[in-house]
Symmetry: C2
Subunit: 165 residues, 2 copies
């Protein structure tokens, strides 16, 4: 089986098994501020569980860029909480996920975002690290703070090669 | 008393009585992803209370722009939850807040953001509506979903005029 993976455009349909696309797509949920603001409401399945008074927090990740083709060996998942990444720029970034196959990640999939798109990984979903392209940039992160072990890492025996769309 | 208000640069110190500046300022809280990402951790005092199973949600507000000088009459507050606005672009925006004086808002203050800055209004803090400048743009919103009445509005009898820095 080829170890080459072609990045796909990020769409809510393709990404649904792994999480939510956070974007202002389609008609707004409602309009506020006398029509000056369209609100696209409640776009991510936030899910925080486990010990130690779990709660949401807002952080910023300043991510340094990666080049394509990307050599991928490491993925991770968070058994106790969802994790959202939303760019604070209009730059695209790479989103890598993998299905779970009996406790280990299967063949990865890679998605390239369009400007205005972020993602929310569902709790316990295998994913790659934050992967900006082109330049270093800030991402808003909404994930879990609490007790317990919320990180599981996995290294593939052989690397996958992720190519541009 | 003059009804003219000069917008100030947004700093954590000046904004502290009203909320948090969400930005990647100073040394990161920790480094992740083999040094490729600086995490600035837990930057906002999220605070969701009241009836109806209150919880955090992630929404997007697509805000149409305002021009300066701005004629301000309306402010609002949310007695049951904090509310964060973080731009998904590098455009500056205007942040208007007001101290509470025996249940009504006092003289407003206006802050102009720098690229990479968002804000989190503390629960029950008087603030203006989402105020992009220059062009329409997307803002990530993290605020409360739940039951109860979470909106209080106030209209000043005379307008305030907000000017550029």
């Amino acid at each position: 089986m080829s170890r080459e993976i072609a990045a796909e455009p990020l769409t809510p349909e393709a990404f649904a098994p792994f999480g939510d696309v956070i974007e202002a797509r389609g008609a707004p949920s409602f309009r506020i501020n006398g029509g000056m603001c369209d609100r696209h409401h409640d776009l991510a399945r936030l899910d925080f569980t486990g010990p130690g008074n779990p709660r949401a927090n807002i952080s910023i990740g300043f991510g340094r860029p990666y080049a394509l083709p990307l050599r991928l060996t490491l993925v991770e998942r968070h058994p106790l909480g969802s994790q959202a990444f939303v760019p604070m720029t209009e730059d695209p970034f790479l989103v890598i996920v993998a299905p779970d196959e009996n406790g280990v990640p299967g063949r990865p999939r890679a998605f390239l975002t369009a400007p205005g798109q972020g993602v929310n990984y569902l709790r316990n979903t295998w994913h790659g690290v934050l992967t900006p392209l082109g330049r270093a940039s800030n991402f808003l992160i909404v994930d879990r703070v609490g007790g317990g072990n919320n990180l599981e890492e996995f290294s593939y025996a052989e690397p996958w090669i992720v190519n541009a769309v």
